[in-house]
């Protein structure tokens, strides 16, 4: 008798949990951590259209999940283009905007916070973000920077709220900013409805949603969004105390956000995409001082709150494996981009599952045989414990050849049934 959607759902959840807990599963699953344009490309839908027509995009992801035999509903990394348009975002560039229709959306890194603004940020991060960062990352929110926004407790009296707030909200740039936020919300309503429908449909078909929400590690938050790689790097030398103070501040808030996300989404898995802790981006000494303590605190807090942290170690984390041994065994769903898999097995094979690491270059430009050889190598290495989940280094590559994604599944079935 064929298993029902509900049974398949439970099986897949159990298999995922078993692998993370280092219990040998029945077989090696294929679990793409996220997806951008692969599924729509397969259907001949342009990257531009994928950003507007959410139902078609989610339907394409559903079909790809079924066709290519994935063991979970991947996280759709392509958000609503009309949301960016409503905000007049200058922090992203997208297909159909000033990029060609077949390009991928891309993040524009910049020093959105200047080094000399640390103290202002630390004194009142919300106020600073609202009045300084938002106008810099979104043209239509410029008005938020043009008015003296008061601490809200100063107007914690309806009469004063009316006199002060009434005047503030009358200013045309402020009205424009508010209208742009509402337009963004309208755009997102369509996306979120399509997302919820996708999650429900996939669950009914037997595919668990991988994550509820993503939480950026504290150092990456400062480096990616506020200071840029160059800025945060120079801060390690020129403003180390302020950088650390900002990391401390965002650690507490990141922990709060992670626990809130688990409650809101009722999904214990928290996605933690990482950027700047990789080998090469800093020395061990700098890693120990600026990156690791806050990252570890976030991971431990998620575990203590009953959740399952799913860090995506982007870049080459081989030099950092010794630190990962400090994390509790069997609690972390660790996804790797370019790590040395043999060294991982030596150092962490009995403490942590191994997820990802099939090179995007092979999936995009190699032969099906090369894909199968790579999967076989992984299964030969991790087959004794079965603590392995297959995926590319960073989710499904946009340009992966469909036959190679099929070969990934076939190799899992051929070599990975225990």
């Amino acid at each position: 008798m064929t298993a029902t959607g509900e049974e398949l759902y439970k099986q897949r959840e159990q298999r995922f949990d078993d692998i993370v807990a280092l219990k040998k599963p029945d077989r090696v699953p294929v679990v793409p951590v996220d997806i951008h344009y692969f599924a729509t490309k397969v259907k001949g839908i342009s990257n531009r259209d994928a950003g507007y027509d959410h139902k078609r995009h989610f339907d394409a992801i559903r079909d790809a999940t079924l066709e290519f035999g994935w063991d979970g509903a991947p996280y759709n990394g392509v958000t609503a283009t009309d949301g960016w348009e409503a905000l007049g975002s200058t922090q992203y560039r997208w297909p159909g905007g000033d990029l060609p229709d077949d390009a991928a959306f891309q993040f524009v890194e910049g020093e959105y916070m200047k080094a000399e603004e640390y103290d202002e940020f630390l004194a009142n991060p919300n106020h600073f973000t609202l009045t300084k960062i938002y106008p810099r990352i979104a043209g239509n929110l410029a008005g938020l920077g043009q008015v003296p926004l008061l601490p809200l407790y100063w107007i914690a009296d309806t009469t004063r709220l009316m006199s002060v707030g009434g005047a503030l909200l009358a200013a045309p740039p402020v009205r424009q900013a508010i209208e742009s936020l509402l337009a963004m919300s309208d755009a997102m309503a369509g996306f979120l409805a399509a997302d919820a429908a996708y999650a429900k449909e996939m669950a009914d078909l037997g595919y668990p949603r991988l994550f509820g929400l993503a939480v950026t590690p504290p150092f990456d938050l400062i480096s990616d969004y506020l200071r840029s790689l160059r800025g945060s790097t120079l801060d390690m030398y020129r403003h180390p105390d302020q950088l650390l103070a900002a990391v401390d501040l965002t650690t507490q808030q990141g922990i709060g956000l992670a626990t809130m996300a688990m409650q809101m989404t009722r999904n214990p898995r928290v996605f933690v995409p990482m950027h700047r802790g990789a080998g090469g981006f800093m020395s061990d000494e700098q890693f120990e001082k600026f990156y690791w303590p806050s990252f570890k605190a976030l991971i431990m807090a998620i575990i203590e709150a009953g959740g399952m942290p799913c860090p995506l170690f982007e870049g080459d984390y081989t030099p950092r494996l010794k630190y990962l041994a400090e994390l509790p065994a069997g609690k972390v769903a660790a996804h790797f981009d370019k790590v040395d898999r043999v060294k991982f097995k030596e150092i962490l094979g009995d403490r942590m599952c191994f997820w990802g690491n099939v090179p995007a270059s092979i999936l995009c430009t190699g032969s099906t045989q090369k894909v199968k050889d790579d999967v076989k190598e992984l299964i030969d290495l991790f087959g004794d414990t079965g603590a392995l989940m297959l995926d590319s280094g960073l989710g499904v590559p946009d340009e992966a050849k469909p036959e190679n994604m099929m070969a990934l599944r076939e190799a899992a079935d051929e070599y990975g049934v225990f």
Binding site: L99, L229, Y237, G279, A360, I362, T365, P397, D398, E399
Partner: protein, 211 residues
């Protein structure tokens, strides 16, 4: 004081390095010698990077200190003080990709290591690479990219260079986080790298020579 300056830069002591530069210039040291000491420090950082003794932060910070020193010294040098170059390199992020952080670090290190670098920027169409090769006659071309769509852009760019009859005149390196031997083979490039050390090593091997 030249050695002290080199030490201060390699040790990432920015204020000390700049104070030394001022003292050297005030004391009548040849400004070209000051610049040479600073360049030696950054070259040393590049070598240590290859040995994995220092990492990207030291290169970025070393580049910043170098920039500050150049600004201090250049007014004292007639004609800008740029000496003979070891070779010419044309570099850019390929069409469809707008990432520049890695490329910029590579450009900086090639520059301080004595190469004349023409940075074509980001999202560079293949024709622009071809034009730049005709104009600057480089020995080496660097194609950078972070996204998987860059694989095809790199391949198309190499093909365009071949079609223009220029392939024999240049060595081509492909670089960026996802680059590997597979990408080199696919694109038809001569080498690959995913960090600045590999880019420098290839340039040194292919061009050789001293500044």
């Amino acid at each position: 004081m030249s050695n002290e300056l080199t030490d201060a830069i390699v040790g990432m002591r920015e204020d000390e390095a700049l104070a030394l530069v001022k003292a050297m210039l005030d004391g009548g040291t040849d400004p070209t010698a000051v610049l040479e000491a600073a360049k030696e420090a950054v070259t040393l950082l590049g070598k240590r990077f290859e040995q994995e003794e220092v990492f990207i932060p030291e290169l970025i910070m070393g580049g910043e200190i170098m920039k500050a020193i150049s600004e201090e010294v250049k007014p004292h040098i007639e004609g800008g003080g740029d000496g003979a170059k070891r070779g010419t390199i044309v570099i850019g992020t390929v069409h469809g990709d707008i990432h520049d952080i890695g490329k910029d670090v590579v450009v900086l290190m090639l520059d301080v290591n004595g190469y004349e670098v023409h940075d074509l920027g980001i999202d560079v169409p293949q024709e622009k690479f071809v034009e730049a090769i005709k104009e600057h006659k480089p020995e080496v071309v660097g194609l950078s990219g972070l996204l998987t769509l860059a694989f095809d852009s790199m391949k198309d760019t190499v093909a365009a260079i071949s079609a223009a009859g220029l392939r024999d005149q240049v060595k081509i390196m492909v670089g960026g986080a996802p680059a590997d031997a597979q990408v080199q083979e696919y694109t038809g490039a001569d080498g690959w790298g995913n960090d600045v050390g590999q880019a420098l090593k290839m340039a040194d091997q292919w061009i050789g020579g001293e500044a």
